[in-house]
Amino acid sequence: MNDTGSVAEGSAAGLSNSKARSKSSGPVHWWIRDFPARQREAISEAITTGSLAKVRRALRLIQELAVEQQGPPLTVELLSTYNLEPILPVLELGLKCLPTCPKVELAPLNDLEGHIVRSVPRRADEASARIVLWRIEEILPGVLFPLSSGFPEQLTAQVDEAISRAEGIVHLHQRHAPGTPLFLSTAPFPLHFANPVFAAQHSSGPLGAVERFNRHVRELAATHQSVYVLDVCAWAAALGKSYSDSLFDLMARQPLTPEGQMAFALFLARSLRPLIFPRRKVLAVDLDNTLWGGVVGEDGIAGLQLGHDFPGNVHLRIQRELLELRNRGALLVLLSKNNEADARLAFDSLPDMLLKWDDFAVRKVNWEHKHENLRAASRELGLGLDSFVFLDDSDYEREQMRQLIPEIQILNESGDALQILRALWETDAFDSLAISDEDRMRHRDYSVRAARDVQGHENDLQAFLESLEMEVAIEQVNPSNLERVATMLGKTNQFNLTTRRHSRAEVQQLASQPGSVALALRLRDKFGDQGIVAVLLAQSGQNGQASLTIDTFLVSCRALGRGVEDALWAALIARAREQKVQKLEAIYIPTPKNTIVAELYDRLGLRRVEGSSSGTRYVLEPVAPATWPAWISNKNGNE
């Protein structure tokens, strides 16, 4: 990007924002997007506070919704060796957030086999899951006191018995409730026992016993149809001691703190979600500042960050995650505002480039709006917009997508590369319980039709641009902005009509000539102050002040597609008319990078005159008024 200063500020703001949001809601925010605001707020409050009163209130409010709005029915049967009764409302809220209409059935405490034998098989069309939750405090209490329990031989035998018990439960379940998915939990590591230093040394101590038991649980799931693992051990390890409280455990054999209860409910909900909601199938991703650091069209191949050192390693890791996603069966779509030749060159010549051009099922590298490119990709793949996830570092692009295609799940909340990487780790969009051979081959099956018929979404786009609340101030080039203007002249490649790299002194000299017009455009939008994003320099012509020749006209790559060039152009025309200029002259000098503006002057109503060897010459005579874009407000007053 051109403006490292404001990019850094933007990332910092995005970071704190996304932290605040993910603490309050995480994926729930997305799950409950179709609930009315009142319900969403109540849920969010219940989740942040963990308060049972707030949980009950959220449950009551969801209950007021029409049944269709509450989500599909789901029966969840809980069989547990510890006491879940006190936390049932919290578990219920987690399942309602999916959203589903849950029926939660709690088996009598620690009555695993008995409950399975007594149960009646469910109808095949009924969405249901049976969940077995256990911990060594109940199934292997001896390992907490190894020296009192026959360490080591007798303890090893006890672990063997617990493993046989787990096998027996799977067989009982398959006999009595075939077809109902069975989730076996792993056992969390015990937190409350003495001498962890000694326990760490032995395979039959409290920790080794858990590891052996859990390994067996995973093997049972891998070798039996419809048996899955609910990895409570990994969940508890990630949450640390904050999930468990010995007071509650001793009082009621309910080990979870209020914070832990809510986190557990959401973990359970997410684990069951793939039973009901299909995963997303496509990830649409941009290039610059995502697959690599920097902007290829501006910084050139040599200026891009990608590799094994920080921060290039963040982008390399993003690429690894995307490749893994593709190998898991998701399709990748490339959406980039770039010259295709620049993008290809980066794919072909960056030494650490991991993703290949052909890893993308569809590539849209052009200057169209991304939402239009995405609709086209959806048609070409024959997949609905609701199977797409969108990843982009630009606040502007994400906001545009969010508003114009609401079905799309936006992966990241911040443009910061590390936040993008974290979003890839944390997203539930591609969650699945199993990955089939078809999934692993999928990307080969999508041969893409080249045909595209981009429908107009002009009205939507207009509304989006208005929603950005753009505000522009036109400044004279002066000592306070000269540094920034000179930097932009030195770096801007894409939206740059002449690519003239004037020095600071040259810009100053040009700006101070009588009759010249030297303007800088400062942009503010709802994301914040974007700083100076466009520059226009014009000199009075040889035949006196009656004519004006445009020396430089450029827009930062951060502000493309928003109409700021039209605002700056209108400002220039207004000044030219004030100065009684009769004739405006301009030139487009093509470079490998600036094809985006090859027809800008045609669009602005200038007339082509005889070309020169260096570029296309244009003239505007007389200097007719230009229209200020309606969606941008003018801080200098109406031009």
Binding site: A53, K54, F248, M251, A252, P258
Partner: protein, 81 residues
Amino acid sequence: MSDHDELRNLLIDFFGLSSAVQNEELSQSSLPAWDSLAMVQLIGELQSTFGVEFDLDQIQALRSYSEIRECLSRKGVNLAG
């Protein structure tokens, strides 16, 4: 009685009671829902709301609005109302 009595409001919300309930009725002996399971959740709620931890002997004596109030004020919690 005051709307600003945070403990009273917490108990009313927690047990889903009418706001007209008397403080004297906020006790384990008058509320059937205040059983030992509710007690565990209530302690969690009190601990996180008021930022305190209870000792074992204190837990035995959290059987009513007035007992909880007294225990909290001994722990230095400033309760309005």
